[in-house]
């Protein structure tokens, strides 16, 4: 059974081809058409060169004894009847080791599979690090592979879009400042029905707590805002939300290892906090 999902291809490139159910995602399918081996080589080596300068990247590579004791930590592995291709170390093997062995000279097809493994079959949850006898940080390694894929643009469309949105507006779902403030005021009205004189203070300087919701909250899950307003008011907290961009605590850049956007989001929040002289930040994510 376990063997059925692994089909060794005997063509020019002998890498493990996985027999997964195909999933159509333009982020993969379209991007891969424009990739060439040279482009991949460049991106992969750029990341490898950064990695070589750090112990967090090199130590696991040189230490892993291939014992597969990490495998039963992973929910993907357990959920697929212990299919060996879902084991954490197997994911590193099929992506990073392979890329290092070939010095990045791989076909776009191969890279697509790599992207699927690191984005869609691992949550970087670090459970495997709790089960590896050496405590190797597998999530960090797979994160580096995500970084390679991100440089190539080989990223699931949905998350790439959200990252672009963060990059452009510092919000996850293309929310403009006007919409955001409108939503807050609208929610304030709503909660007034339940709690007298509820306030959602916007941009209050010197407040004790700045609350940073997730972009989805004002967009599709406004009830979170209402509930938070309720809790904050009843507890009598001196709180506020930031009016300027940089209130969204979603950080998709972190997930796809877009370090630039990731840092800008963090900056955005801290900038707001500094501007408003906030004492504490509460991040829903």
């Amino acid at each position: 059974m376990a063997e059925a999902s692994v089909k060794e291809s005997t063509k020019t490139e002998d890498w493990v081809k996985l027999n997964r159910k195909p999933v159509a995602d333009p982020g993969f399918d379209e991007t891969v058409k424009n990739l060439t081996t040279e482009k991949i080589e460049k991106a992969v080596n750029a990341v490898l060169n950064i990695g070589k300068n750090g112990a967090r990247f090199m130590a696991p590579l040189e230490t892993c004894i291939h014992c597969a004791l990490c495998s039963n930590a992973c929910h993907w592995y357990l959920s697929h009847d212990k299919d060996p291709t879902y084991a954490p170390v197997a994911k590193v093997k099929m992506t990073l080791w392979e890329l290092i062995k070939r010095k990045g000279k791989v076909s776009p097809e191969f890279m697509k599979q790599v992207a699927r493994i690191v984005f869609c079959e691992c949550n970087l949850c670090r459970r495997c690090s709790m089960y590896c006898p050496f405590g190797l940080d597998i999530a960090f390694q797979l994160g580096m592979v995500r970084r390679m894929c991100f440089i190539l643009g080989l990223v699931p469309q949905n998350i790439l879009d959200q990252t672009h949105s963060l990059s452009a507006t510092l919000t996850q779902l293309w929310i403009t400042q006007g919409d955001w403030i409108d939503t807050m005021q609208w929610q304030e009205e709503e909660v007034r029905g339940e709690i007298k004189n509820v306030r959602i203070p916007i941009d209050k300087e010197g407040a004790e707590v700045m609350w940073c919701p997730l972009g989805t909250e004002p967009k599709v899950a406004t009830y979170h805002i209402a509930r938070t307003a309720k809790i904050m008011n009843v507890a009598g907290i001196d709180w506020t939300v930031a009016a300027q961009d940089g209130w969204d605590s979603a950080n998709m850049g972190m997930f796809i290892r877009d370090m630039e956007t990731m840092q800008r989001v963090v900056r955005g929040i801290y900038d707001n906090a500094m501007r408003l002289k906030i004492k504490r930040i509460v991040l829903t994510e």
Binding site: V23, H75, L124, I159, I195, T216, R227, I281, V282
Partner: protein, 158 residues
């Protein structure tokens, strides 16, 4: 970033709510009925060590008992929505739920309908998993639980 400790204290809502409830700034007026289980989010518990705070809050707000998933706390399985798992979007939903079968089994084993999942990712993906495997139950977010159970003093009533 160049700091070891962040210059401004950042809190996860659970830490914040813990403070509110344990210092009595929020009083719990009624408790939600029925047994409850807890989805320990990776970022909050494995990577922030707040399992006990979470249990304190659940204990305060539910009649209980708390039926733990096995394994739990720092060893709990990821909900499969973290690390961008949800954000990769709708096309991958089935793939994601298949990868979370172990989570479904965990939930079934507890037999609970109330699943406290105090993380946006867990909340979404637990609900997806429940639907995918036709399990009765619902994920509950902590602000939902608090808003429902907390005491609203007279002066706040409209």
């Amino acid at each position: 970033m160049g700091w070891k400790e962040s210059p401004i204290e950042t809190l996860h809502p659970i830490e914040f709510y813990y403070e509110l409830v344990s210092t009595g700034r929020i009083k719990i007026a009624r408790k939600i009925k029925g047994p409850v289980t807890i989805q320990d989010p990776c970022n909050l518990v494995r990577l922030r060590g707040r399992g006990e705070m979470l249990r304190y809050l659940v204990n305060e707000t539910f009649e209980g008992p708390i039926i733990e998933m096995q394994p739990n706390r720092g060893h709990n399985y990821c909900c499969n929505g973290g690390g961008g798992g949800n954000a990769i979007g709708p096309p991958w939903k089935a793939n994601r739920c298949e990868g979370a079968r172990i989570k479904a089994e965990q939930i079934i084993a507890t037999g609970c309908h109330n699943i406290c999942s105090p993380c946006h990712n867990c909340y979404t993906s637990i609900n997806d998993v429940l639907k995918f495997y036709n399990i009765e139950g619902h994920a509950m977010f902590m602000d939902e639980i608090l808003a429902e159970t907390m005491e609203v003093p007279e002066e706040f009533k409209p």
